[in-house]
Symmetry: C2
Subunit: 203 residues, 2 copies
C-alpha cells in the first residue's frame, strides 16, 4: 500500500489539496510513483476517516471551496513506521526482458525498433533525472525549497543528500538500460548479417 505512503511523503512537507497532490504525481514524485485522481481522492478520504489526515474546508472564490489535508500525529507515526519497515520484494514482472529473451521470434527490424524505443524511453527518463539533480544542487526546485524551509538545519543536508542519492540511483538504472539496448542493437545486426553472409569456405 504505497500510494498511501507517497501521499504521506508529500503531505508531511506541507498541507495540500487532492488537486495539488495530483499535480505532484504528474511531475517530481511522479518519477517514482504515479496515481490518477480517481485513486487519490478516495484514498485521502479513507486516510482522514482513519485519523491519519485532517482535512480543512478552504473557500476558493465566491462559491467554490477546496479541501486541504495535513498529516496528524497518528499519520506521522504511521509514515515513520513504514519508513522503518523493510520492503517486501515482489517477484519480477519485466515485459521488456521477457520479450528480449524470445527476440528470435520477432522480425529483425521490429526487434531493432523495440530496442530503439527502449533507448528513447530511458534517455527521456535520464534527462529528467539529471535535471532533478541539477535543481537540487542549484536550489532551484520549488518543492524542495518549500520542504527545506520547514526543515531544521540539521536535517536539511540529509534531505538534499537522500534526494540526490535517489535520483542518482535512477540515473544509473537508466544508463544501464540504454547500454544494454545498444548492445542488443549490435547483436541483432550481427546475428542477421551472419545469416546472409555465411563464413567463407576454408580453402
Amino acid at each position: 500500500m504505497s500510494l498511501r505512503n507517497a501521499l504521506f511523503a508529500l503531505l508531511v512537507v506541507e498541507p495540500m489539496t487532492g488537486y495539488d497532490l495530483h499535480k505532484q504525481f504528474e511531475s517530481s514524485v511522479g518519477h517514482v510513483w504515479h496515481a490518477p485522481d480517481s485513486q487519490i481522492y478516495p484514498e485521502l478520504k479513507r486516510m482522514e476517516a482513519e485519523g491519519l489526515l485532517e482535512g480543512e474546508e478552504i473557500p476558493w472564490g465566491p462559491r467554490g471551496k477546496k479541501r486541504q489535508y495535513h498529516v496528524t500525529e497518528a499519520g506521522k507515526v504511521a509514515f515513520r513506521t513504514w519508513m522503518n519497515t523493510p520492503l517486501e520484494y515482489a517477484r519480477t514482472r519485466d515485459p521488456a526482458h521477457l520479450k528480449a529473451a524470445y527476440l528470435e521470434w520477432a522480425d529483425p527490424e521490429a526487434a531493432k525498433e523495440q530496442l530503439r524505443v527502449h533507448i528513447e524511453h530511458h534517455t527521456g527518463l535520464l534527462e529528467q533525472w539529471r535535471e532533478k539533480v541539477t535543481e537540487i544542487e542549484d536550489g532551484t526546485s520549488a518543492m524542495l525549497n518549500r520542504r527545506l524551509s520547514k526543515t531544521s538545519d540539521a536535517d536539511r543536508e540529509k534531505t538534499k543528500a537522500y534526494k540526490t542519492f535517489t535520483y542518482e540511483g535512477l540515473i544509473t538504472q537508466a544508463e544501464a538500460e540504454i547500454a544494454w539496448a545498444r548492445r542488443g542493437l549490435k547483436l541483432v545486426d550481427r546475428l542477421n548479417s551472419e545469416q546472409r553472409l555465411p563464413s567463407p569456405p576454408a580453402d
Copy 2:
C-alpha cells in the same frame, strides 16, 4: 496482457500441462515473469476457447488424467504479432526508490538495514542469473536443450544469443542496484557521523 505471452513463449517450444507451466514459472522464466496456478489454469482455458491453444487429454496413471496444451497456428500468429509490437512503457512505481527519497524520516539503523536487504535481494538475483548464463554457455540447461533440439540450425545461435543477452541485462541491473545501495550505506554513515561530530572550529 503479458501472462498470455509468457505462456506462449513456453508453449511454442513444446506442449505442456498447466502444472508444467507452473513449475517453469517457479524457475527459469520465473525470473522475468511469475504467475500462480490460480492464474495459469483459467488463462489456458480462455486461450483454448479463443482457438490460440489446443488442449489434449492425456491419461496419467490408472485413473488420473492431465491436459496438455500446444499452440495453434492462430496462437503462433498472435505471439509473433506481440513480439513485433513495441511495448508500452507504464509509468514507474518503485517503492525502493520512493523510500530512498525520504530516508531522513527513517532511523539511521533502519535505513541501513533496508539498504542491506536491498543488497542481499539483488545479490541473490545476481547469483541466479550468473548461473543461467553459465548453463546456457555450457549447454547444461534442460529447458534450453529441449528448445534447441526443435530449432533449426540457423536459429539455434540466435536463441542462445538472445537468452544470454537477456540475462546479461538483468545482471547489469542487479549490479547497478547493489552499487547504489552500497553508496547509500556510506551516505547514511556519513550523514550521521557528521551530526555527532560537528566540523572543528576554524581557529
